[in-house]
């Protein structure tokens, strides 16, 4: 059993792991390990994992970075640039937070009272704050992948935005997989917006191409009353990289979130998004564009829970699959009893542009309240022949015409990204991706 390796690691290095880690993270470790020990990795006969073989991902003997070792990056690796976009930039290399928070560029954040930096450090410096939220949103007691993450988590990115504080400039978190050997990274992020706070976070996932990497990144986000939060993730990784994990969000009364997932390049992605609209008048927009070709595998499992009345959710995912790529989308929406006046809309549209590409789509609406407006729709099709001929009849080559139509297909989703410079950049990157001009985003040059 592939689990046994990791159970042995935990038992053998238990003391060292606890010794390296802050008390807050250790306090749930044992409990998480018991869950993992009992459940093991989810297998493909479990409904939610029918399309992704999780145990096989752990088969290579990666080991675990128990010692919290930093793999140094030589030269000048991190110059991240989106034209016209200025961000507070932070790095997590593998599973170690790697930015120097004392740099001047972060002073504006400090002046606002924002607490940010390494989860490990902040958990030591502000244990009460971290304890209040850590492992409270991502369900490690019922999800083995989260239990695994919680068992071994030592570090990641942390930010706390105090009450009524607005951070105008987006925060950019860059996750890089970098090592001269195959590596399993297990990182944990915690993002907290207190009442009335506002922040935007851009997450970029990158990896080097020469090694096999597996990342299991779990992000918990708490969006307080009337707070406004945006979270845009872009995956631009090498084909030999596997990414699992997810984003777990809890929204309080009147809060708003704008979440997007753009998969530009990836070998294997299993991404879970769970948004709990825990109090009334909370709103969320969850979007995704996934581009796959060759043997790429992109699996999104989303769950939006309307736990209170008068909440609204809009969910839009589009996949464009070529060659032998496999896509999977599951969209569960649960409207609890008494969540009256709920509005929940979901749409998943997909293009398979080759005969071998496969798309699995599964909308699931479970509604226990009567006074609600809910809709869902899913399509899998090809590029519209009529539109293709129209473009070609004007002298646009078949290849270019297909590219224009694919871009057009993704356009409405990208338009939902609420940071203009990022939106424009992603349009360019998506176009380059479809043209096959480039396999790296150059938002940073960390993975050249």
């Amino acid at each position: 059993m592939v689990e046994q390796t990791y159970k042995d690691i935990y038992n053998k290095f238990h003391d060292e792991l606890l010794g390296n880690s802050p008390e807050v993270l250790n306090s749930v470790r044992e409990e998480a390990f018991e869950v993992f020990e009992r459940m093991g990795f989810p297998t493909m006969d479990q409904e939610r994992y029918r399309r992704s073989n999780i145990p096989s991902l752990f088969e290579p003997e990666y080991g675990v970075n128990i010692k919290h070792l930093m793999v140094p990056i030589n030269g000048q690796p991190f110059r991240c640039e989106v034209p016209g976009l200025h961000t507070y930039t932070f790095y997590v290399v593998n599973d170690v937070f790697a930015s120097d928070v004392n740099k001047e560029e972060y002073n504006a954040l400090k002046e606002k009272g924002v607490i940010f930096g390494s989860l490990k450090t902040i958990a030591e410096e502000h244990p009460e704050l971290v304890k209040k939220y850590y492992a409270k949103i991502a369900p490690h007691k019922s999800e083995a992948v989260i239990a695994f993450n919680t068992t071994f988590a030592q570090d990641g990115f942390f930010v706390y935005v105090p009450k009524n504080v607005t951070i105008e400039k987006p925060i950019q978190l860059i996750n890089v997989m970098h090592a001269d050997f195959d590596f399993l990274a297990n990182s944990r992020n915690l993002i907290i917006l207190d009442e009335g706070a506002e922040a935007k976070v851009i997450v970029c996932d990158h990896s080097e191409k020469d090694r096999k990497f597996l990342s299991n990144r779990v992000t918990e986000i708490y969006i307080g009353k009337n707070a406004r939060y945006s979270h845009h993730k872009m995956v631009d990784s090498a084909r030999a990289t596997t990414s699992i994990g997810g984003v777990y969000i809890k929204q309080m009364e009147g809060s708003t979130s704008n979440i997007s997932d753009i998969v530009l390049n990836a070998g294997f992605v299993r991404n879970d998004v769970h948004i709990d609209l825990a109090e009334k008048y909370a709103e969320t927009t969850l979007c995704g564009v996934c581009i796959g070709d060759e043997h790429d595998h992109i699996d999104n499992d989303t769950f939006i829970e309307h736990s209170a009345s008068n909440c609204k959710s809009t969910e839009l995912f589009k996949y464009i699959l070529d060659d032998c790529a496999v896509g999977s989308f599951a969209g569960r929406i649960l409207v609890d009893q008494d969540s009256q006046k709920t509005e929940a809309y979901q749409s998943n549209k997909n293009i398979c542009s080759s005969t071998h590409a496969k798309m699995y789509t599964k909308p699931q609406l479970v509604i226990y309240a009567d006074d609600v407006k809910c809709s869902h729709g899913a399509t899998v099709g090809q590029i519209d022949d009529g539109a293709l001929f129209y473009l070609r009849s004007r002298g646009i080559s078949e290849k270019e015409a297909k590219m224009l139509l694919k871009l057009a297909f993704t356009n409405d989703i990208i338009e939902k990204i609420d940071i203009e410079a990022l939106r424009n950049r992603i349009k360019v990157l998506v176009e380059k991706r479809f043209r096959g001009e480039q396999h790296r985003c150059t938002i940073c040059n960390s993975c050249k």
């Binding site: 519209d384 539109a387 001929f389 070609r392 009849s393 002298g395 646009i396 224009l404 057009a408």
Partner: protein
């Protein structure tokens, strides 16, 4: 000779039904030809086949356009060679802006001729001047191709694209359908402005009305996949007066 169609036969690929059953037609530069005919006679099929629509298969005959075997060319190369089809039902393409669409088209035409791509400012100037041909709003540039356009705007947009691409041969497939009289005048005005001694048009229509504005040199009647009668512009008037039954009678049906 700009276009020579000889004994053209074509079927619908999906069901094998033969629609064109031996078309013969010759068009010279400087000429305007009208093709009229009852519903289902094959008018739109002829225009689709000439433009290279993949739903049809040519089963016989040949088409020489500008000295080249048209049927061997891809739809895009037919366009590059100077063929233009104004669609009866222009396609809406959400997410593709008119500017990007036309820039791609114009620059591929230029590349085909070995010319450099237009600069952004040259291109926008061209867009602006050509949109005036059909009194199309300049806001059009930012809108998606035909999305949310009214029937009249769609047809004006077709003629605008024709003005951008300056084809040698334009096929106007029922460009008058769905147009009120003002829009018809604007569309026809655009077509007439683009007319010169080096280009030609084939105007496909049900009604004489359009031919008051775009005056043809020849009128052909297409019936059951064949051209059964050809004459001057007076034929359109006669047809309007007597109806298609007259043709059927003449053919002994």
């Amino acid at each position: 000779m700009l276009l020579e169609i000889k004994d053209l036969h074509a079927i619908i690929k999906s069901n094998g039904k033969e629609i064109l059953k031996g078309i013969n037609l010759t068009v010279n530069s400087g000429e305007v030809h009208a093709i009229m005919g009852p519903n289902g006679s094959g008018k739109s099929t002829l225009s689709s086949v000439l433009a290279g629509h993949p739903a049809y298969e040519v089963t016989g005959g040949e088409v020489i356009f500008n000295g080249k075997n048209l049927l061997e060319l891809s739809p895009e190369d037919r366009s590059h060679e100077g063929l233009f089809l104004s669609f009866q039902y222009p396609v809406e393409i959400p997410g593709v802006s008119m500017t990007n669409f036309m820039r791609a088209a114009v620059n591929e035409h230029r590349a085909y001729k070995g010319e450099e791509a237009l600069s952004a400012s040259e291109f926008l100037k061209l867009m602006k001047s050509r949109s005036e041909y059909v009194e199309l709003d300049s806001k059009l540039a930012g809108r998606a191709v035909n999305e949310g356009f009214s029937g009249g705007e769609k047809k004006r947009n077709e003629i605008f694209q024709m003005a951008m691409l300056e084809p040698k041969l334009s096929i106007l497939d029922e460009t008058d359908s769905g147009l009120d009289i003002d829009a018809l005048r604007i569309v026809a005005g655009g077509v007439n402005k683009l007319k010169n001694a080096d280009n030609a048009s084939i105007v496909i229509t049900h009604y004489q009305r359009l031919l008051d504005y775009i005056v043809p040199d020849f009128v052909h009647i297409l019936y059951k996949g064949k051209i059964v009668k050809t004459a001057g512009k007076e034929l359109a008037l006669e047809l309007e007066e007597k109806g298609y039954d007259w043709i059927k009678k003449e053919l002994g049906e």
